[in-house]
Amino acid sequence: MFYREAGDFKTSYSKDEQTFPIKLDRTGYYAVMLFAFCVVPFMVNDYWASAVLLPFLIYAIAVIGLNILIGYCGQLSLGSGGFMAVGAYSSYKLMTSFPDLSMVIVILLSGLITALVGTAFGLPSLRIKGFYLAVATLAAQFFLVWLFNKVAWFYNYSASGQISAPERTIFGFYITGPNTQPAVAYLFCLAFAVGLAWVARNMTRSNTGRKWMAIRDMDIAAEIIGVNPLKAKLSAFAVSSFYIGVAGALLFSVYLGAAEVGESFGMSKSFLLVFMVIIGGLGSMFGSFAGAAFMVLLPVLLKNIMVGQLGWATDIAAHFEFVIVGLLIVIFLIVEPHGLAALWRVAKDKLRLWPFPH
């Protein structure tokens, strides 16, 4: 069974437009899904969930959102840390104000609130582009962090200025608070990540996505063929912020449990997400997951090697971690500026011919 489309005939246009046109890809996708939903939950322990799986899934959601904005619609944003904070604080306020509300609804509502905020901060994109827009969205980052620090109502006037997630259950299992089962938290985040990735894929392959990409590639030509730039850009900001808000809500409630805005949702979070988008690959769903995996896994891996295998002191390892990750990013971007998704594509193109040279 070779990896190629030969013999895999398409008899309708919808079949030609499916996400995985090659049979082996489809099989692989179903296998991964089966493994992720049915096998991993029984193997997962607290370390794996909190060090690897939960941050990977949550960041993947945020990266898909940011990729929609940067990679698909071409609008550079440095405010994602602030938008994650909006998601987190919305979920906190919702959880404390309506204790009986299901967590699924809390998370989705937090996303919607963030979408509204994101759309408002997306308004400058109608006038300015590129780096200038990046600076304008930076204002969102600073303003939102300041707001959640300053207005005590957002953290329910707690003395520490922190927010901490109250215990909530879903189907009788704890998913927030100290009694959380790692497997349940993992499944909860996985369901969101897979569902939202599916929705994003549907949007990007239909006319919504074409409008975004038309604006990205040439906004004047896009307007000439009938794309309303106002609607296209603002919808990208709204959808992107929704994803980032959901990620922020999950990060706070399921993963961190407690958060302080400047520390958890500061400038560095915005940059981390932009790194993930660029390393994963602009305008690619696979790239969004790959970028999140790279940035989450690499530090864990390095730490395990340096502390676990080589026996270095923790603080030296922590410093070296920064050096190595930074160096790898630079080398990586020189070798493949289009990110992991491009590497993956090249590998697949080669595989389609293998073992023949042409």
Partner: protein, 271 residues
């Protein structure tokens, strides 16, 4: 000739009522007058050429027609109705499509996706149905794909269907751009120098496509072109512009005999 309601071309096509009428258009950029008091019409089913030396204001004229520029004076009538100051995407929705002098394709997308973008003005589904994909969105996608495949066949670009347009040679990119404009099924197609930078063979191909579009779909076409041989061969009527003014209007033969046009192109002796 321009006063009669319909006329018949030498090759026997009947040209109908005006699709687009420009009435005393004046366009200024600060103190620079790009277009000065120009009137002409584009009639149903005809191939109308706009020619003139560089900087005559031809592209500005197209930009007025599809709403990039709004003239300070004069009015634009579309299908006999006065058109307000609409945005380009609203004019696109009314059925005006265009190609650009320097190709304006979406570089990151495939040929197929570029031409599918041309169908956006006909899209009836909203974002919610796109989210679900199954059902309305998928049906519309298939319908559009069928229409787009006809255009791909027509333009003979089947082999590059899934190639990113950035990788295509210049001549093919021009063809894809024409395809994107055709996908909108426009009632008026504007072509800004469709043959610029092409060799003789590519020019012949492009001329054939333009004639075929006009012939098979009955599309009204307005084009700017510098190659006089091509213009005189394919255009039904020609507007000549120079320094923002109209100096000639009529059939190719009439224009060729016009002394002002000859002076503009060849220069006048100063003695």
């Amino acid at each position: 000739m321009s006063n009669v309601e319909t006329y018949t071309t030498p090759d026997g096509r009947t040209i109908g009522a005006p699709v687009m009428e420009m009435k005393n258009i004046t366009l200024r950029f600060g103190g620079v007058v790009a277009i000065k008091d120009i009137s002409f019409d584009i009639r149903e089913g005809e191939i109308r050429a706009i020619i003139g030396p560089n900087g005559a204001g031809k592209s500005s004229m197209l930009n007025v027609i599809n709403g990039f520029y709004h003239p300070q004076e004069g009015e634009v009538l579309f299908h006999g109705k006065k058109r307000g100051p609409l945005r380009p995407y609203q004019i696109a929705a009314q059925g005006v499509a265009r190609t650009f002098q320097n190709i304006a394709l979406f570089k990151g997308m495939s040929t197929l996706d570029n031409i599918m973008c041309g169908r956006l003005t006909h899209s009836k589904t909203g974002m919610l149905s796109h989210v679900l994909w199954k059902g309305k969105a998928e049906r519309e996608e298939t319908e559009n794909r069928e229409k787009v495949e006809k255009i791909i066949d027509f333009l003979e670009i089947q082999t590059i269907r899934k190639t990113p347009v950035g990788r295509l040679p210049y001549g093919l990119q021009k063809r894809v751009e024409l395809g994107r404009a055709l996908a909108a099924e426009p009632s008026l197609l504007l072509l800004d120098e469709p043959m610029a930078g092409m060799n003789v063979e590519e020019k012949e191909d492009m001329s054939r496509f333009i004639l075929d579009v006009n012939d098979e779909f009955g599309t009204t076409i307005a084009l700017i072109e510098h190659d006089m041989g091509v213009v005189m061969d394919i255009a039904d009527r020609v507007v000549v512009m120079d320094y923002g003014k109209k100096i000639g209007d009529g059939t190719p033969a009439e224009v060729q005999a016009n002394q002002d046009v000859i002076d503009a192109y060849l220069g006048v002796a100063h003695d």
